[in-house]
Structure formats: structure tokens, C-alpha cells
Amino acid sequence: MNFETTIGEENISILHVEGKILGNAADVFRRKMNDQLQTGRDKLVVNLMNVPLIDSSALGAIVITLKSCQQSGGKLVLLSPQKAVREVLEVTQLNTVIEIYDTEEGACAAFA
């Protein structure tokens, strides 16, 4: 699993994740997101374009980060989840509380 963070306009952080997020990898994933919050960046886009699969630990990481962002007045949105990931978000209905976008422009516009 690889991570890369880019900072866009309006101080929006885009976390690009590559690889499946399963088991202990979810802790790293959570920490990477939390790193952004710690530096005051609570506008977070998580790019899941290159994530073929996530498990419940990864869902937990997303849920807890989403809540932290909301508490500080920020937001977490997801970008381009693949089919399997999208299905997990639908079944758990997390898609009703997390905005999902297909383009980076769309995701960034969510913070406007």
C-alpha cells in the first residue's frame, strides 16, 4: 500500500492511496488521514481510484476520520472508489453520510 498527499487550492488535502486496505494497513491509512487533521487540514479528499478492496477496519478508519473532520468543521469526501469498494459503501449505507465524487474537480468543489 502506498500513499501520497497533495495539497490543492483552499488548503484541500488529497490523499492518494494505492493498494488494498486490509487489516493492519487500515491503521496506517487512519494515521495518514489523521496526519492531515493534526496539521489543521480538515478538508480531506481520499482518492480510492487505485484501491481494489477495503475491509471493515478500513471502514472504521474512514468513519472515525469523517467524525473528526466534522467536529472541527471540515469534511471528508471520497474520490472514485472502484466497484468492490463502492458496493461496500452502499451496503453499509456509508454513502448516505459520505460524499463520493468521480472527478478530482468535483471532489474539490465540494468544499466550496
Binding site: G19, K20, L22, G23, P52, L53, S56, S57, L59, G60, A61, V63, I64, K67, S68, Q71, K83, A84, V91, T92, Q93, L94, T96, V97
Partner: protein
């Protein structure tokens, strides 16, 4: 859920400074500027941790600790003392009295944050265990945590054994269940709750998360269901109650997915609500198949979660199949995927053997399960259950599951 820290100091500047430092870290901060109001505040609503100045007029920090330790519901609240440099005697007496750590004034704010996090990290597990300890009527000692951890693992295993092995026999219906446990403590569960002469509550779920908190959550949900489920309450209402209970009592990354429904034996209906769980199948005698999707979010993460119900009619020969993702996420064996190496090793693929690419073919998946159900729909429930198990074994090349698997099949007699 944000943790609450009670900060106590008679110096208002220090109170303000600590509050400003701790709130951005995600803590709720309450303040008190003398010993008496600190004790009152802690009695009223015990915080998760207290930062306590030793030197205060009237009632000093050490007296505050003594009073808190004397009271049942505040005695386990961790305390970090704030002491002046050189007051070694205070530190020793403080630790003797039951303080968990101390910080010397003047302090570095980063040290405060680090020590708060360290103490909370140490005492957090106690919060999960405490309700159990209260139930046992036992005094609690922190040293016992490790030992208790082992006991709880064993308890979770026992709890799993307590799950009904046999489905109840019901007039007009044929039921079968399957529960296969992997070695790890994880949280698949199901239960059958008699509601009246003609109605039975059926629940199947999966507690996400790991270790003791997850095992305890499973115990908590099962117990709560047994207590909460009444014939007159809709499944949506029950899920909402369970959701609110779990939201209140656990961290946000600990949650469950579950389906709860009421089978009415005279009306031949199943009224259910699905809390973020993989969709059960309704295989109709007409060969048509529908998914039981109605419900709401996963359980226990969001206070604002809402749930809906749906009723499906079960015609003679109809089958309902409930399962956990341990079934659909069963990994393929080498041979099943590639079609090669037949007759060679049938050992199933370990997780780290396919780090890079994961074709979805690697997993059994909902489609295969649905196909297996359709193909074998004419079989009795228990034979249908076995057909699924056999299909999984062929697919994975192994009869040992790597994750918990649970399955319930309910068929209306023809």
C-alpha cells in the same frame, strides 16, 4: 466519541492555557478552579481523565483524589497531578494515593498532551471492562487487565458456543444454520428470539473491529436484543435502539452490521430491517430472487442513523438465506482460479500471497452464493446449507475457514 478531561487549577490562566491546548486535540475540556467544585463536577459526570493541581487552598489535590477514590463511580477515573518543581513529597504521596502520573510545573504543553494520551491509552481498555467488573461485583485493579484479557477471550469463545447450534423447529417452516469460527475472536452471531406463540425474532450480524472490545460488543448486542425485542416493536425501532446504545457506549470505529426480522408463522411473512449488512436473498418458488435491502446504516457509528422496515411474503417453497461476509469473502484456491495445477496443492491462498492485484474472482462473492442457492433451492434447508459449505470447500480448496462464517436458511414448507 470525544473523551472528556476535567482540568482543575486555582490559577485561571493555567486553566485557560490547558483548555486551549487540549481542545484542538479532540478532547472535551471541563474546568474547575478549586478542589470542592472539582469533586462535585467529577461526581456529577465522571470525566475520562482529570488533570489536577496539587497546591490549592481549602481542599488540595491529594484530598480530591482521596474523595474520588472513595466513591464507586469515580474511583477508576485516571488522575494526572500537576505539581510544583521540587515537591517530591507531593509526587510520592500523590502516586501513593492513586494518581496515575504527574507533570511538573512549569510544564511544556507537548508533554501534557503526550502524558494525557499515554494515560488514556493505558486506561481506555478498562472502560470496556468496567461494566463487566461491576456486574461481577468485584473491586477492580489495573494489574488485573492482562489476566482479564485472557479470561475475556475465553468468555467470547464460550459466548460463541452459546449461540443456538440448532435452529428452532417451527410449524410450517424448515430452518438450518451454520456457524464456523476461525481461530481469532471475531464477531459473527445469530440468534432466535421467541416473541409470541406465532412470532419469532431472527437476528444475524457481524461485529466489526478486533479483540476484546469487539467481543464485548457482540455480547452486549446479543444481550440487548434479548432484552429489547418485543413482538410489538418494529425491527426498525429495535435497530435504532441498538444503534443508539452502541453509539453512546463505544468508539466510532467499533460497529456492527446486522439484520433483524420477525417471522410470522401464521401470516407467513418476514418483516425485517437491515442495518448495513450484506443483503440476504429471498429465493422465490417462482425462481425469482430478490435482495433484502431495506433498512439503514451500519449499527453503532452514527447517532443520526435511521432505519426502515419491509415485509416480504413467503409463499410455499420460498427460501430466505442470511449470511456474513466471511462466506462471500472466502478466498479461492490456486486451482479454482487458474484452472491449472489440477491435482496439485489445493492449499488455499494466504492473504499475503496476492499483495498486488486482486481480481474479484479471488473471492467466492455474492453471485456464486446466489447461484448455489438457486441451483439447490429444492433441497431441504439443512441439505441446502451443506450444499453451500461444499461449494465453498470446492472453491477454496479447503474446509478450514479463515474468517468466521454464519449462515441461516429458512424455507417455507411446500
Amino acid at each position: 466519541m470525544a473523551e472528556t478531561i476535567l482540568v482543575v487549577d486555582d490559577d485561571l490562566d493555567i486553566l485557560e492555557l490547558l483548555k486551549m491546548n487540549l481542545e484542538p486535540e479532540g478532547y472535551n475540556v471541563r474546568t474547575a478552579n478549586d478542589g470542592e467544585s472539582a469533586v462535585q463536577s467529577a461526581y456529577m459526570d465522571p470525566p475520562d481523565l482529570i488533570l489536577l493541581d496539587v497546591m490549592m487552598p481549602h481542599k488540595d489535590g491529594l484530598q480530591v483524589i482521596e474523595e474520588l477514590k472513595d466513591t464507586e463511580h469515580t474511583k477508576n477515573v485516571p488522575v494526572i497531578l500537576l505539581t510544583a518543581r521540587g515537591q517530591t513529597e507531593d509526587k510520592v504521596r500523590g502516586l501513593d494515593t492513586g494518581a496515575d502520573d504527574y507533570i511538573t510545573k512549569p510544564f511544556d504543553l507537548r508533554e501534557v498532551t503526550a502524558r494525557v494520551e499515554a494515560v488514556l491509552g493505558r486506561t481506555r481498555p478498562i472502560k470496556y471492562i468496567n461494566p463487566l467488573m461491576h456486574a461481577m461485583g468485584d473491586a477492580f485493579s489495573e494489574e488485573g487487565v492482562q489476566q482479564l484479557a485472557g479470561h475475556l477471550q475465553a468468555a467470547a469463545a464460550i459466548q460463541k458456543k452459546l449461540l443456538p447450534e440448532q435452529a428452532p423447529s417451527l410449524e410450517g417452516f424448515d430452518m438450518a444454520t451454520l456457524l464456523q469460527s476461525s481461530t481469532s475472536v471475531s464477531g459473527d452471531f445469530y440468534d432466535f428470539i421467541p416473541l409470541s406463540e406465532t412470532q419469532i425474532g431472527i437476528v444475524l450480524g457481524d461485529v466489526k473491529g478486533n479483540g476484546i472490545p469487539a467481543a464485548l460488543l457482540m455480547v452486549m448486542i446479543r444481550t440487548a436484543l434479548r432484552l429489547l425485542c418485543h413482538e410489538e416493536d418494529t425491527p426498525a425501532l429495535i435497530l435504532k435502539r441498538i444503534n443508539d446504545l452502541v453509539v453512546r457506549d463505544t468508539e466510532a470505529d467499533l460497529f456492527a452490521t446486522m439484520i433483524y426480522g420477525i417471522l410470522d408463522l401464521t401470516k407467513s411473512t418476514f418483516t425485517y430491517s437491515n442495518g448495513g449488512h450484506c443483503y440476504p436473498f429471498h429465493q422465490k418458488n417462482t425462481k425469482e430472487m430478490t435482495l433484502l435491502k431495506t433498512g439503514g446504516m451500519l449499527i453503532g457509528a452514527f447517532e443520526e442513523a435511521t432505519f426502515a422496515c419491509e415485509t416480504c411474503s413467503l409463499s410455499p417453497g420460498d427460501a430466505l438465506l442470511f449470511y456474513t461476509d466471511g462466506i462471500t469473502e472466502t478466498a479461492a484456491s490456486n486451482s479454482a482460479v487458474s484452472g491449472e495445477n489440477q491435482g496439485e496443492s489445493t492449499q488455499s491462498i494466504q492473504d499475503d500471497a496476492f499483495q498486488d492485484v486482486i481480481p474479484m474472482d479471488m473471492f467466492y462473492g455474492g453471485d456464486r452464493l446466489a447461484a448455489c442457492l438457486s441451483k439447490n433451492a429444492a433441497l431441504p434447508a439443512s441439505a441446502l446449507c451443506e450444499a453451500v459449505v461444499d461449494d465453498l470447500a470446492v472453491f477454496s480448496g479447503s474446509t478450514t475457514p479463515h474468517d468466521d462464517r454464519a449462515l441461516i436458511i429458512i424455507k417455507r414448507d411446500t
